[in-house]
């Protein structure tokens, strides 16, 4: 099991679109993926789960990855966090 801290960098926080790109990417991997924020843990492959966190810009979350492809998955997910979820113009 891997644990890693990550920060939300895009201005509008983790709303529908970033959440969608996050769960889409996470679903490509076999590993179980959870996101923990202030003690609340949700499934990172569920869009409703991720949106429930309502994580704002600057919020710190912990990514928990468990499975065979955990290293690869963690790398891609952290990259997505660093690239502000690949969203150019936010609505």
């Amino acid at each position: 099991m891997l644990r890693k801290k990550a920060r939300i960098l895009n201005e509008a926080g983790l709303h529908a679109r970033p959440a969608a790109s996050l769960v889409k990417l996470a679903s490509k991997f076999e590993s179980d993926f959870f996101i923990e924020m202030q003690g609340y843990k949700v499934n990172g492959k569920s869009i409703l789960g991720v949106m429930t966190l309502a994580a704002e810009c600057g919020a710190e979350v912990e990514l928990i990855m468990n499975g065979e492809d955990e290293h690869e998955a963690m790398e891609s997910i952290t990259e997505l966090f660093d690239n502000k979820f690949n969203i150019e113009n936010e609505e």
Binding site: S27, D32, G39, K41, N43, K45, S46, L48, G49, T52
Partner: protein, 342 residues
Amino acid sequence: MPFKDHTPIPKKEKITVAYMIEKLRDRVKIKVKPNAAESVCDQKFVTDTDLHRPGLALAGYLELFTYKRIQIIGNTESQYLAKLSRQEQKKSFGNILQFDLPVIFLTDNNTLPKPLLRMAEDAGIPVYTTNIETTQFMFLLRDFLEDQFALQTMVHGTMVDVYGIGILIAGKSGIGKSEVALDLIERGHRLVADDVVMLSKKSNVLLSSATEMNKHFMEIRGLGIIDVMSMFGIRSIRYQKRLEVVLNLSLWEESEKVERTGLNHDSVSILNTEIPLIHLPITPGKNITVIAEVIAMNYLLEHYGYDAAKAFQDKVKHHIAHKKEGGEMPKRAIEYFEGDFE
């Protein structure tokens, strides 16, 4: 195994006395009237679910006095105070007022003499009175506090009420939990929460609800997010439901623990409460919705005292025992067919 690593979410540490009073009036529907120091209620905090009757403390024994708890003055304490002289009353009441008590309740229409209320006012300790009988008031208040400070956790799954039985559908992402729930809603059952289920432990029972955020939204793969309440109406949702059965969906190859007789009951421990667990492998041609209904009905039957697996087992055992005394092989269920005419 689902939820093996669920973690409780941080508990509430304290609530203000003002909040508690407001909720007692609105939600618990009990009458409480302020007698002293109402203005400091929003700076006073309740941190403990337990209550205390300060009889011994009034009498002067202050060791182990649990002053952080809500203090309840019932008939015994009031009569004790009433029998004292004015001077002694002040001394006795002063014993407990030297501590930072959260709030004092006078139950069963008991009152305190004016000088004592003035002392409480000066000490900044709120005093409320209620008409409810002491033990009943303590029960209601404890029940409220237990809920406020309840142990909670968040789990991934879909919670539905099927024929009055709270079923939590668990399983990996994308296995079709929401689709099963949608099918159940279409058949008249009620959704509690999709994807994120909050569980609170209250007197050894787990109560489930959605979160403020996801309540009555649902995600259907390929379609996106839908609002169940506006689509299917108020009868399709529920705010809360006791969790009674966990239904774990899995793919056929990963499911080794599939029960065949129904004699062995598996369970899962969530917040130290054992909940019956059913492993259901998904195979082509299997209608999970109907199986969920059957699970609910079977649970109801068991609850009402009929266990089909045990009944069948008893029948077989009886037959085996009978065979030794010269019985025969099982016969057909009907002795004589009269003929079946169209």
